[in-house]
Subunit: 135 residues, 2 copies
DNA sequence: GTTATATTCAACCATGCGGTTGAATATAGG
DNA sequence: CCTATATTCAACCGCATGGTTGAATATAAC
């Protein structure tokens, strides 16, 4: 059951699509950090860094907890796992040498279609991404 | 050797952070598809869908090849593998029951700090994301 | 050659994103 | 109480993104 809704994966991958945020995750892999600690390495305002952290929170990649006057963040690995699960669906394409086989088939096709016969492969659609519960 | 530069991962994860594009990848998992075929399920102009495909190309998730008057797309699994590799670094956080252990430690800490002694854990920084070759 | 099909290109538009600054809030410490 | 520290909030800005439309290009079909 690798079923996550679109919005979740959107925000998740969007959160991962920024090197500052990935850097913060990497830092959090070393243990809990305060907002200030996470922000410090970056050449941007604290407010900007804090926004990045909020994005990570929104994607449930990070949990923030107030402790006295500082807010400490911790990595929330389940979200990362969700991303990994999604990717796992495509694992067969690189794991088994299926891609090599694909290449051979494609090349054979190219040669075939250039010598005549059209539309040999890929005419069938998989059930269309059903408009609101995709991926 | 799981070393990819920031920009690559930025564009890669950004490309994955859109459900239309993920839907297209899913479709391409079924084999080669033309631009028109990929665009058809979506309630947007062909031009818009084509732009999505270009984003996928830019992230090297898809290879497009002109064949006659149509352009056929194929899945390029190495890029997906890159994303998977990046995630793998964090696998330990959810695979081994290390996260559970972490929870226990954290709770213990919370109790400890609420009963007195401050700043027990997480004072050490891992080497800071070195500003241009991070993640 | 003309027409239809498949796709791109260019200009444009609204919205969101990553950043800034300055003020507000809340806790800790002298 | 007053001040310093840690963080958020709100307003603003420039730029990228995701979408549109209409014209351009190239191949296929008649």
């Amino acid at each position: 059951m690798v079923e996550y809704n679109d919005a979740t994966l959107d925000t998740l991958f969007h959160a991962l699509g920024d090197s500052t945020r990935r850097g913060m995750l990497h830092e959090l892999a070393g243990g809990e950090r305060t907002v200030g600690q996470l922000a410090e390495p970056y050449a941007m305002s604290l407010a900007a860094a804090a926004k990045h952290i909020q994005v990570l929170e929104g994607a449930r990649l990070v949990h923030k907890e107030r402790r006295g006057r500082m807010h400490v963040c911790r990595l929330e690995p389940q979200a990362l796992r969700r991303a990994s699960d999604w990717l796992r669906y495509y694992e067969r394409f690189w794991n088994t040498r299926l891609d090599v086989l694909e290449n051979l088939l494609r090349d054979a096709d190219a040669k075939a279609s250039s010598t005549g016969a059209a539309g040999t492969r890929a005419p069938r659609r998989t059930p269309p991404p059903p408009k609101g519960k995709r991926s």
